[in-house]
Amino acid sequence: MRDSLTVSERSELGKLHVRRLRNQGKVPAILYGHGEANVNLAVPSEQVALAVRHGSRLVDLNGAVNETVLVRQVQWDAFGLHVLHLDFSRISADESVDIVLPIELKGAAIGTKEGGVIEHIKHELRIRCPALRIPEKLEVNISALHLDQAVTSGQVTLPEGAQLLTDADEIVVHCIKPMVEDELSTAAAESGEPEVIGRKKEDAEGEGGDEE
């Protein structure tokens, strides 16, 4: 089920008015696309928080605008606590849109019982999908994944009519042997002082001798 947002049109623009709007518990938004005029909107922040928690890509707008739209972008504050702004894009039933969807892993891999660990490498996939069939996320079942096996982006089940835009050979998730502690701390193996770019060795030695 799609989330619905009650929107109101806003005429006052600029950071001062937008800041006041946020203080009133509303999130500024914009609706654009299909060659029509942009509409500046305000959405109650509780409804936005709910839609974001559900991961909804398609939402129904009610109020000043009555249509189903695509959430193109969500802008967050530096701490990722509050949504600052939303971009809505107009869509039509016969249209395909390019979108980045999150990947969720399902099941427990057999490989973990064989001594392996699951490494989720690619968390998002870019696909071209019919606008009204956009799912909230792409699910990958890894229950049949053995040690040293991988699932590539080409093997991910896409919604009907969707097309993969990222490279089909890219590894999404694999089951590998756990890393040994030594491999992890290779970066820390260096000792002494770092090399100074553009300085000759004799200069560096000379400077070292000065201090006492």
Binding site: V52, G55, Q73, V74, W76, A78, F79, G80, V100, P102, V117, I118, E119, H120, H123, P178, M179, E181, L184, S185, A187, A188, A189, E190, S191, E193, P194, E195, V196, I197, G198, E211
Partner: protein
């Protein structure tokens, strides 16, 4: 041995000032869960390493830990019992400059409960206030 750069342009840095919040590096990108700094400050190279070891000992090779900070800044110090003057001291240690909102560590391949326990252990090592974060919609 703690982390430090391989090559630097200058051996000694000025102190600098931390202004504003992190506008980059403030999202969980590599793993599923993260530890985010709530306040700014410096984190020493050996503290970064201590945090990594604390987390690694808890996850025991099950998940994958990502360290999202690096000590790029050298901090100088004077030797003990020396008089003032005679120029700036020698580099004593290295620190990572942390802006509020920066994600310090990330963890993937573990459950949320495991990640919370692991990050709590890690947070004890940190000299800044931190919080547990998850991936978010963009």
């Amino acid at each position: 041995m703690a982390l430090m750069p391989k090559r630097v342009k200058h051996r000694k840095n000025q102190r600098g000032r931390i202004k504003g919040s992190a506008t980059r590096g403030n999202r969980v990108v590599f793993g599923d869960y993260g530890l985010q700094a709530v306040e700014g400050g410096w984190i020493k190279a050996n503290t970064i390493e201590a945090g990594r070891i604390a987390a690694q000992q808890y996850i025991r090779g099950e998940g994958r830990l990502y360290v999202r900070m690096f000590p790029h800044k050298s901090i100088t110090a004077r030797p003990l019992e020396t008089r003032m003057g005679k120029g700036k001291g020698e580099p004593a240690h290295w620190v990572a400059v942390i802006k509020p909102g920066s994600v310090l560590y990330e963890l993937g391949g573990v459950t949320e409960d495991q990640a919370k326990v692991c990050m709590a252990r890690l947070a004890h090592k940190m000299p800044l206030r931190v919080r547990f974060v998850k991936r978010r919609m963009t």
